[in-house]
Symmetry: C2
Subunit: 355 residues, 2 copies
């Protein structure tokens, strides 16, 4: 070991999900949207002036912030933007979880929460979900340094109701409660409506799922102005210019077209509900997902076997070899025709006689 | 104060430089490049497929990493990329300055170093530059937890020679030495040539200056593979997908056109040298800048007065009201015609009879 290695921050390296790029593959493994971004995005891309790239972008990201403020009926000083919701959440962890008491989140949830806690040396305690993968609100009544809940949860798709969240917020007025709503637009009830009542609530959303913009890296947080101010103070201490000119311009366009947004999210919801019925018919079980994915298990066939069989067909889904969830596959909801190919394969595969 | 505020990480908010957008202004305040990015960038922008934005970008950023590796004659596992050099440097601070001993950097240097140290609770000690704004190598021989040097330095433009840097590297084999080369392409000697000899050297560069891409937020670090691996481990723990599809594609194009790069940097160097002569003629003094800016002082007129007089003419330069440098203006080197307007104003202004 070189001498300088003693000063290095050692982390358990996070391994991002596979990003295969195979001809003819069906990519249902990272919860991307099967539909393209709103048509205005293509238009704005064509109109962008590359000569302007020589200049720094607006550090306040006003074009994007104002467009989000209009969309959510909030003031511009209630919106914080970052390089995907991972950047926004990591900044929020760094900013708001600076105490000595452990922060709380479920044992089964978005896999980055413990990674950020480890990175920033934030103490944490995982609270077990119940057998149906639901949070138990009483678990969040103990003393803590903050709470983070994905709603709908990942990778299960289970959504908590606003009443449940409100109860948790009431019990935790002295810490920040982050609701990570990456998948909220596919059927859950957003906590944005609770922002006026709770100065300790931060709601985080993303352009990567419902807005078909994973490739442009845009996420945002919403809360009362004081929270957003604290986040901006830390962000400006880290990097004044996180959002490129392209992300600002194209992101603003993606928010502007509400009809397109409603149409594509509706299509995905419809496909999901149809696929649920068909999967049930094939013997699969799954919690009732409100996300753009289904977390499904088959009583007779192991998830790992199915994962590998699908991969041989160039159908990519996500498999987590972890306690409690190693019997499940997370299947992103694609287009109807993609799902038909998946279902047809699963129908054949599940009907094979097994000893 | 709300109860939750006790857990908030309080920072001294960094205030980014003004980004005025005025009709007819001459913007010489943030060291942007006056020339547009390489022609291939505009072409790649037109060819980009917005339908692909629905997909996550390549987390390994291979297109950009490989193009930088080719340009610098390094292997791809010797390159780390991030959202501007601020992102790269902040990640490097977080990764490599994790000890208890203070890190060292000059008292006059890039204003973000102490901000990141404060953000990440890294102890630091500033080492005073000498009267000519040069580093004193012996200051970097004391016990420390790491070293960061901007070369050429900001906001002075003073460059240290490779021999000096090599001496400091030799004396500090047990800590990481970061050389921040944001302005290296305007005439300094890059430490990239020292990478094979020093496993403790990290060289950081940016697309924001010599490559005219400030608006797209791209920075990079170069070093031996082990260093880059540690940086990537932390980066993947923070955010797997920091670089948008647009930054990857357009950044790769900006690196590809070497002739354009040489031509525009040469033009800026020529303009800088001419402006130096003319400023001397007007009575200004300045250290010999190797950056795309000149850090100039006038013995008879205060920098603040000049700053405000220029601003009234819509000529924006940078003024730092800080000890030791409050008599100086940092003037970005623009096009020849922009500089002529500046010089013509300064000629008139300095010739006014003063009591």
């Amino acid at each position: 070991m070189a001498g300088w290695e003693q000063h290095v921050r050692k982390v358990i390296p996070y391994v991002p999900g596979e990003q295969p790029r195979q001809e003819g593959m069906i990519k249902l493994n990272t919860n991307e949207n099967p539909y393209p971004p709103a048509p205005g995005v293509a238009r704005a891309l064509r109109e962008m002036d590359p000569e302007q790239f020589r200049l720094y972008p607006d550090p306040a990201a006003s074009l994007l912030v104002d467009s989000l403020a209009r969309r959510y009926g909030l003031a511009s000083n209630q919106i914080f933007v970052g390089v995907g919701s991972d950047d926004v959440l990591a900044m929020a962890f760094l900013t708001f979880f600076n105490g000595k008491k452990p922060i709380l989140f479920p044992d089964i949830t978005y896999s980055f929460y413990d990674v950020w806690a480890n990175l920033y040396r934030i103490p944490y305690q995982c609270q077990p979900l119940d057998e149906a993968f639901c949070i138990r609100p009483e678990d969040y009544e103990r003393e803590n340094g903050g709470i983070v809940l994905a709603n709908p949860n990942a990778p299960t798709g289970v959504a908590a109701g606003l009443k449940t969240l409100q109860g948790i917020l009431e019990q935790n007025r002295d810490v920040i409660v982050i609701i990570d709503e990456a998948y909220i637009d596919f059927g859950g009830d957003s906590a944005v409506s609770l922002i006026p009542s709770y100065d300790n609530l931060l709601v985080v959303q993303t352009f990567s799922k419902s807005r078909s913009m994973a490739g442009m890296r845009i996420g945002y947080a919403m809360g009362q102005p004081r929270l957003i101010q604290y986040l901006n103070d830390v962000k400006y201490s880290f990097n004044s210019y996180t959002m490129s000119q392209a992300s600002l311009r194209l992101g603003a366009e993606a928010v502007a077209e509400e009809a397109y947004f409603l149409d594509t999210t509706k299509k995905i919801i419809n496909t999901r509900e149809r696929v649920k019925k068909e999967l049930t018919g094939l013997g699969f079980v799954f919690p009732d997902s409100k996300g753009n994915f289904i977390f499904a298990s088959h009583p007779q066939i192991s998830a790992q076997e199915l994962f590998e069989a699908l991969k041989r067909e160039k159908i990519y889904v996500r498999y987590f070899p972890k306690p409690r969830i190693q019997d499940y596959l997370r299947i992103t909801v694609g287009t109807d025709s993609q799902m038909d190919i998946l279902l047809s394969f699963l129908k054949d595969y599940t009907s094979i006689d097994r000893p």
